[in-house]
């Protein structure tokens, strides 16, 4: 697969001014400035093929947005190499701009003072978008994002959700080859988030767009991406499919059974011994509830069979650790990071 973007040993550091507290500190700051060096991105390397859908996640300050800003050419890296569609972004920003679309969730690109449709028309002229492409994306945006009633409204009168939908449509109007979305669903309600994800998925499929999304809402990733990059303090911690991510960090699965009668200690003991031989472990047996944890994929049928044999079960559920729990654990766990 041809690469849409390649990042090699990318680094970015900057100087941060240190301010002393209080009025006296502010006055002192007039005469003597102190700085500290912040390493936002450290030796990052990855590549993304044309048409791939990749999610970039990490805690606040992990370097996600900085990476995106370097990939779009807005800021200049302090080290390493990067190439997007054959361009060095910060050197060839204007040429690259024709083939990329960018949404910064917290920085709207719509023109504040004029109606939404005027912005769309301006972008059509600015990017010289072919009529068929424009109509295809515009039509899809009106339909999927419900933009029709907003077209004649000046942007400054739009709500956050309305603005974000319009902003997303604006960034995709030219059906760019690569789209960077930086927190595209930030601050949106659940139904608008669904609309946004649906639109992204449809347009990506229609034009074979390469997608790189950074977000804190992992549903954005699971619903629109196939691959995940996990950043931590400017370094890449994981790069692989979402399934591989779950396998690596969420090997624990659970069977939760509700029993007809309260589980007696002897029954729990017997069950513990039985499931132990099939790779399971009773981690809870209290009242009407029994929880068996296992790690091996495919072990569930045998374990369920054992539970049903030994207990009078009224309900049974399989639980898998969701991606959000996994990521939260990783953020909290220093050992996992190491």
């Amino acid at each position: 697969m041809e690469n849409a973007l390649t990042v090699e040993n990318l680094s970015k550091s900057y100087q941060r001014r240190l301010r002393q507290p209080g009025l006296l500190g502010a006055v002192k700051g007039l005469f003597a400035s102190r700085f500290e060096e912040v390493q936002a991105v450290k030796g990052l390397s990855f590549s993304i093929g044309r048409g791939e859908k990749v999610g970039l996640i990490g805690e606040n300050g992990a370097g996600k947005s900085t990476t995106l800003k370097m990939l779009t050419g807005i800021i200049v890296p302090t080290g390493g190499k990067l190439e997007v569609l054959g361009h060095i972004p910060w050197k060839e920003r204007r040429q690259l701009a024709l083939n990329i679309g960018v949404v910064f969730g917290q920085r709207p690109q719509l023109l504040w003072d004029i109606p939404v449709e005027e912005t769309f028309k301006l972008l059509k002229t600015m990017y010289r978008i072919p009529e068929d492409v424009y109509q295809a994306v515009y039509g899809e945006a009106l339909h999927r994002l419900g933009l029709e009633p907003l077209l004649n409204t000046p942007v400054r009168h739009l709500s956050l959700g309305q603005r974000m939908r319009c902003d997303l449509a604006a960034s995709l109007l030219h059906a760019p080859a690569v789209v960077f979305l930086d927190e595209p669903t930030i601050g949106l309600d659940l139904s608008v988030k669904e609309q946004v994800r649906g639109f992204i998925t449809d347009i990506q499929a229609k034009f074979g767009i390469t997608l790189l999304i950074t977000t804190h809402d992992l549903k954005d990733i699971t619903e629109t991406c196939d691959r995940l990059l996990l950043l931590d303090k400017g370094k890449l911690l994981f790069d692989g499919s979402i399934r591989a991510f779950e396998q690596k960090y969420a090997s624990d699965r659970r069977i939760v059974a509700e029993t007809h009668k309260p589980v007696e200690a002897s029954a729990a003991q017997a069950l513990s011994q039985a499931v132990g031989k099939s790779g399971g472990k009773v981690i809870e047996a209290e009242g009407h509830r029994v929880v068996v944890e296992y790690h091996e994929e495919g072990a569930a049928p045998a374990l369920i069979h054992l539970i049903l044999q030994q207990l009078q079960v009224v309900d049974i559920n399989l639980e898998k650790t969701d991606i959000e729990t996994i990521v939260t654990r990783i953020y909290r766990s220093d050992t996992a990071k190491a």
């Binding site: 800021i75 709207p108 950074t214």
Partner: protein
């Protein structure tokens, strides 16, 4: 998969710049109250200047280098020109740099300096539209005093006006670069306005300045925004001297534009946009 769009050449980009100009003009019309307030404040400032000079002429008689009528015509023309050439992009861009919104401007397939020039041009076209009304009022009071000295003077003035825009825009753009370092446009904006008001010839023709200030003014570009075009319009400079001033204006205009281009390249190299 859609084939990649090829880079646009300059003529293909022109549509984008015109679209930008068009939208900037529409945006200007969106703020009627702000426009009227700005106009009122400018008129107030002009009225004060006229009253001060009126007092000076009453005290000193006609011992100054200009007659009272000439001075009032100069001030009226300077006021109109200053109003027409008022460019506010430094405040806007300064604000966008501070908030990080500059990121979205840099993602457009247009040259930033040129697209800001279209924004500045829209400011000037809009102000000129409003300024026509002011000129009509001034004409009512001063009549023939504010007409150009001759058709030649008017022809030279048109060239000078274009160059005055170039100088003014290039100064503003160069000052904007400071905001990339300070992350606040206010101090930059205030210092440019102060220099403009002092050395452009807005309050008085530069020829009336004391020698030291006159020398400083002659070495700075601000005189070419107001003083030079108004003096050419009034026929106070003609022939070779007028052409020399136009040459100086052009040098400043293109030189500052080029300086702005290189300053921008340097400023972008150290741009930081914090936060998501």
């Amino acid at each position: 998969m859609r084939p990649l769009a090829r880079p646009l050449n300059f003529s293909e980009s022109l549509g984008g710049y015109f679209a930008y100009l068009n939208r900037a003009l529409k945006a200007n019309f969106a703020y009627k109250a702000s426009t009227l307030l700005g106009l009122f404040t400018a008129a107030l400032s002009y009225a004060v200047t006229v009253l001060v000079w009126s007092h000076v002429y009453t005290q000193k008689g006609s011992s100054l280098l200009m007659s009272r009528q000439e001075m009032f015509a100069y001030l009226a023309l300077a006021f109109c020109l200053n109003y027409a050439l008022t460019i506010n992009i430094d405040q806007r861009v300064g604000q966008r740099i501070r908030l990080g919104l500059i990121a979205t401007d840099l993602l457009k397939p247009l040259d930033f300096q040129l697209s800001q020039a279209t924004q500045a041009l829209s400011d000037c076209l809009f102000n000129s539209f409003v300024g026509m009304g002011i000129l009509a009022v001034v004409f009512y009071f001063l009549g023939g005093q504010i007409l150009p000295k001759s058709p030649q003077a008017f022809g030279l003035f048109v060239v000078s006006l274009f160059l005055a825009f170039l100088v003014q825009y290039s100064i503003v753009f160069l000052f904007i670069q400071g905001a990339f370092y300070t992350y606040s446009g206010y101090g930059i904006f205030a210092s440019r306005i102060a220099l403009h008001q002092t050395f452009s010839g807005l309050q008085a023709p530069l020829t009336l300045y004391p020698p030291l200030l006159l020398t400083v003014g002659r070495w700075l570009p601000f005189q070419h925004v107001i003083f030079t075009p108004v003096f050419i319009y009034m026929g106070r400079v003609e022939g070779a001297e007028a052409l020399r001033l136009l040459g100086e204006q052009a040098l400043w205009g293109f030189g500052l534009y080029a300086a702005g281009y290189f300053a921008m390249r340097k400023a972008l190299g150290q741009l930081e946009i914090q936060g998501g």
